[in-house]
């Protein structure tokens, strides 16, 4: 799936990225490792602070749930013991969203993929690359990268995030499935998503290479 990304867009953060994926536009910033507040400090690893802001209005419990899902994912990807007693603060601001507020699939997907670039831009140590894809099933038909309208008409929708090692999708890091579906549909969807995630990762690499080429002006 095609996406557009721009890295280092914010001057005052350690890393940032702006991503347009599908009809969702999101900007993420990473500040870290920085000094945490005393209550956030962990003696042997970095603590994470994740803040999600919606495109419209103030953040609600909906964003809290999104933050929780994103934190669960990122805390296993960031090599946290490298930054003991430090804080990594990640802020995700949605700019344009394309789904009913009762759905969060497209937003979660965009947030995960945007954080990937922002974390790399901030030079935070990661265990592996990761790529997330979203799909939905409508009347037994699998739709990849659905629009907000397709999501609301679907029978079930799924967000899958894989970790990528040596260009191959290795294991499932996160799976959020809602709706009504059967086991066979799910496993079929997972195997379809593998190639999609790998395809996404080749694009990720392309953008990262471009960024590094521009970073070193003496090339």
């Amino acid at each position: 799936m095609a996406f557009q990304v721009q890295m280092s867009v914010l001057d005052n953060s350690d890393g940032s990225a702006e991503l347009i994926i599908g009809n969702t536009k999101v900007i993420a910033s990473v500040s870290g490792p920085i000094e945490p507040k005393q209550r956030q400090e962990l003696p042997n690893q970095a603590s994470l602070e994740i803040i999600i802001r919606p495109a419209k209005g103030l953040s609600t419990t909906r964003e809290k749930l999104l933050e929780d899902k994103l934190r669960a994912l990122l805390q296993s990807i960031i090599i946290r013991y490298k930054y003991p007693r430090q804080l990594i603060s990640i802020v995700v601001q949605f700019l344009v969203t394309d789904e009913d507020p009762k759905f969060t699939a497209n937003e979660l997907n965009a947030a995960i993929n945007c954080c990937y670039f922002a974390l790399i831009d901030a030079d935070i140590a990661l265990y592996s690359s990761f790529a997330s894809v979203v799909s939905c099933i409508t009347e037994n038909k699998l739709i990849q990268n659905p629009t907000g309208k397709e999501l609301s008409q679907s029978d079930s929708h799924h967000v899958v995030c894989f970790n990528i090692q040596e260009g191959k999708a290795d294991k499932i890091l996160l799976l959020e499935s809602q709706g009504e579906f059967v086991q066979e549909e799910l496993f079929n969807l997972l195997s379809e998503s593998v190639s999609n995630a790998e395809e996404l990762h080749t694009l990720q690499r392309k953008y990262l290479k471009e960024k590094i080429d521009q970073d070193y002006i003496w090339k």
Partner: protein, 346 residues
């Protein structure tokens, strides 16, 4: 010759569970048992009491209730109703409940914690996406007309007392019910994932017992409303002709059951995955996480909702810790969930 005498420090099990939950968990697992003394794939027994008569009799704004007990954890879920006007065309085919989760820890009040907010939002989204409540069943039936008579108040409904019902004022607005769920959690001992399972169970159970009331407006719509005058600071009462919708709680025989789309055996189960202490390549599947050690040492988790027909309503999987969730383990977990849906939780 003197040498420093270093004594081995040992901790009682409950202290070790707090300061080194991973060590405590590993030691238990190598003995083949979990810290909460259950088997690896054993679920905690659950006790459900629905529609507690006392609750409904004492508070006539409670329309269904469910009490779920699992070990020392007790959940009291009460459903109340709200009414909203239908504006325009409602595109949504399904409704949901609006839950407020409170985990009581013996402290007074305060803002809701993240855990409470996440649980509430998760329930709200899951019930919506599982398509349990068709919007049609939330539609308010034709509104009655309350008439003051000598021997008290009688309410006439257009569909029940057709002969007696004289339409005086056309009440054209249409209304829908909103289901509000207040969930109180006492003595929380389970993990957040298990708590979601229990809350979901209590919501599904209470919804199935839910009976909706009829609504009516009074014939003489003379309501006194307090207004503040610009000229003086005292409040005065004036009459308005604003009709007030009332819930007919006096005639419980008119209550009707809500039509739902809940498949039998809709049960949420949760799993944790840890590396086997004996063999590092092997992962162990634990069901229904409970206790300090499992809460903080297990980061790879799954939460699955299945029903008796074999379909799945929700999977939330996070592969976070050192235990790897393979497709086989996911398949195993789905199998266990399906079996549980068939056999029930009791």
């Amino acid at each position: 010759m003197s040498s420093a005498d270093l004594k081995q420090v040992s901790f009682p099990p409950d202290v070790l569970a707090r300061i080194a939950p991973d060590v405590s968990l590993e030691r238990h697992l190598s003995l083949g048992i979990r810290p909460n003394l259950r088997n690896f794939t054993e679920f905690n027994s659950i006790d459900i009491k629905s529609n507690n008569q006392q609750l409904q009799e004492n508070y006539n704004n409670i329309f269904a209730s469910s009490i779920v007990k699992s070990g020392p954890t007790t959940i009291i879920n009460t459903l109340t109703l709200g009414v909203v006007e239908n504006y325009g065309q409602d595109k949504d085919k399904y409704g949901t409940v609006y839950p407020v989760v409170e985990i009581l820890r013996g402290r007074m009040g305060g803002a809701p914690t993240d855990e409470e907010m996440i649980l509430g939002q998760d329930l709200y989204e899951t019930i919506y996406h599982s398509k349990l409540i068709p919007n049609e069943s939330l539609q308010v039936k034709p509104i009655g007309l309350g008439i003051k008579e000598e021997d008290g108040e009688t309410i006439y409904y257009p569909d029940l007392q057709e002969a007696d019902y004289i339409p005086q004022s056309e009440h054209e607005k249409s209304y829908s019910f909103v289901i509000l769920s207040s969930i109180k959690v006492y003595s929380k001992h389970t993990s957040t994932n298990s708590l979601f399972d229990l809350c979901y169970l209590s919501c599904v159970d209470a919804l199935q017992k839910l009976k909706l009331p009829r609504l009516y407006i009074m014939d003489s719509i003379q309501t006194k409303v307090s207004v503040k005058s610009k000229k003086s600071t005292t409040r005065g009462l004036i009459s308005t002709n604003k009709a007030e919708l009332n819930i007919d709680t006096a005639n419980k025989q008119h209550y009707y059951s809500i039509e739902l789309n809940i498949k039998e055996g809709s049960i949420s189960s949760n799993y944790g995955i840890v590396k086997s202490p004996d063999n590092n390549d092997e992962s162990i599947l634990l069901t229904d996480l409970q206790g300090q050690e499992e809460e903080s040492a297990i980061l790879s988790r799954m939460s699955i909702i299945t029903n008796k027909t074999g379909s799945i309503n929700r999977i939330s999987l996070i592969n976070g810790g050192d235990g790897d969730i393979s497709l086989e383990l996911l398949r195993d977990a789905i199998e266990i969930s399906k079996r549980r849906s068939k056999e029930g939780v009791m």
